[in-house]
Amino acid sequence: MISQPRRLLTTPFWTGITNGPRTYSAYCQNLEERIPWRTLTGRQHFYLDHEAYVAFGENLPTFKPRPEAAKVTRDLEKSRVPGGALVLNYLTPHGKWGIHSTYGDTLRMKTLSRGIEPVWINDRDAGLLGVEDNDWVEVYNDHGVVCTRACVSARIPRGLCFIYHAPERTLSVPKSPERGGKRAGGHNSLTRVRLKPLFMIGGYAQFTYAFNYWGPPGVNRDTFVVVKKLARPEF
């Protein structure tokens, strides 16, 4: 294991078959070994007929609009929104080169990623902020603060911004004027855990906890931040 990492066994909770030279692909066990899907019907299905899901309107995967900052997410009750700043929806998606705890803070990868994990922002939103590509910005809400540089892109929709996860908090992190000159945080300083009531359902077919199988969801799109220009970063 130490000299050469290798696969151990096909995990019972994942549905791929990774014996021999095969790479992981979902549902191989169900198809090839004719194991029923672990649902009430034994098949793949999108419809969830649990009464709580019905009550929440999540019995079918349907479009849900972005939540509202003031009424729903309440991320900005203690944070000021000065003139020239913008309130944007905030996301922390998978990056171009890694997911979750993949270590990306090597010099080589930093060189290919502008030397920092930037905040991606729409070009017209950036224009409203008076921010040009590569300018420093301060991104904050009631949970925390991030100081980083802006990557201005027309490919980002208006009204939102994102920082790829997950940089460490060691390289080129300025202090935050908005938070009394304390060192700013990382991408997850701005998010919070929200426990979704639907995940308290248990003992009902596929809604049953097992390691790596059923766990708390992400809070994608459920965070709002204030973005403003940071004229002079102090380290």
Binding site: W97, L112, S153
Partner: protein
Amino acid sequence: MDVRAQVAMVFHLDKCIGCHTCSVACKNVWTDRPGAEYMWWNNVETKPGTGYPTRWEDQERYKGGWKVGKGGELGLRSQNKVDAFLKLFYNPNQPGLADYYEPWTYRYGDLFDAAGGDDQPTAVPISQITGEEMKIESGPNWDDDLSGSPLYAENDINLESLTDEERAGLFEIERISMMYLPRICNHCANPSCVASCPSGALYKRGEDGIVLIDQDKCRGWRACVSACPYKKIYYNWKTGKSEKCILCFPRLETGQAPACFHSCVGRIRYLGVLLYDADRVAEAGKVPNDALVESYRSCLLDPNDPDVRAAARMSGVSEEFIVAARSSPVWKYVMEWKLALPLHPEFRTFPMLFYVPPLMPIMGKIEGGIYEHDAKGLFGDFESARIPIQYLANLFAAGNRGIIEGVLKKLIAVRHFKRVQGHDDVADEYVKRLLREAQLTPEQAEGIYELTTIATVQDRFVMPPIQREEAMPAGCSAEECKGSCGLGRTESPERGG
């Protein structure tokens, strides 16, 4: 007929995901040295975009490559004898560090040694050149994924001949599109870098066509840096010599694929032998721009022709190379199927790397909120392509749209040809018409499918043993060159006292 063998490469751009793994592999193997920090012998660019060094394609600024003179003769755009003499001490065509980027690292020690305080310490960026604190303002892929950006993509020189309407589409949300362009040295058949070197340090290897810089002879004039239109020669500020991609010849000589090829995640690269007629290369570069692709194709020789093989033997090409040329994936893509095209043939250096232009982001578009390939049937609607055909023509065909359309028609036909084998939503007759219009036989379409999608490394990398020991010049014995990490012996120039 003077037959030469060339180790050539094909990049299938539909398969490139822009991950830069090739760049990292190359950097780790070859340019992780003092003086070479800023060099990326292999880099990947987002197109439309400005690239590295910035706007390298702008030959009004950099004056690289060849041009046809008033008398119809081929001459260097800069760094001919007169020009080189006049620019000895000041060469405005030379890219500066700002055109590449200032390489940086971080003062990691601060994480351990910072004075006590309320906050955790941070490692600030410092220059790898001066060691001073610096602002990071550029990088080797600074406009990575930034297609549609008014700062970068809009300054792409290949957009210049597009209509206002075509340009506007590229910068409209939901129409923005992009592609990736991996680049290494093109190991050209008529390299302007070799022609420009006042010290005779640059040479094209006889047995495989790899272009190299003799580190003993190089005096650091940097004429080659200016003369290379692809900006693929870099000056090492530490050794005082110029350096470039060596096509990983130490790996090739031991039967291994180049590091960039070997590490490619999308398996977009193909490497094999091409035979060409060196007698015709200079003449072929004198035709008008829109005839250049055909003109260069006409210099490539069919290894299946017994006359060509006999001529190759006469010219001293080894039997192993001749055999390898017959199963070369590059020959298939470039000549048999005519899918792979040279990058910027109008620079007239006859590049020996070829690109299959991408189809997917080009044809896909949003129609009434639904992503579709084409509402009007998949053929004949190049006008509304997501990336204008003219843009691709400016990259790969010196502006000739017909060449690009021919390639895209083939790519579309192959997709339908395979679709009809597994599904019944395409009519047989329709597929036959597509193949006919694309000038493909079903066998060719199957061959394109196989080499594109399910080819193994043995199909993609067809390389004969290189007879270096036979081609080695006297005075440089194998023993002497051993362990010199591919750069030959390096002796730093003496400077001052």
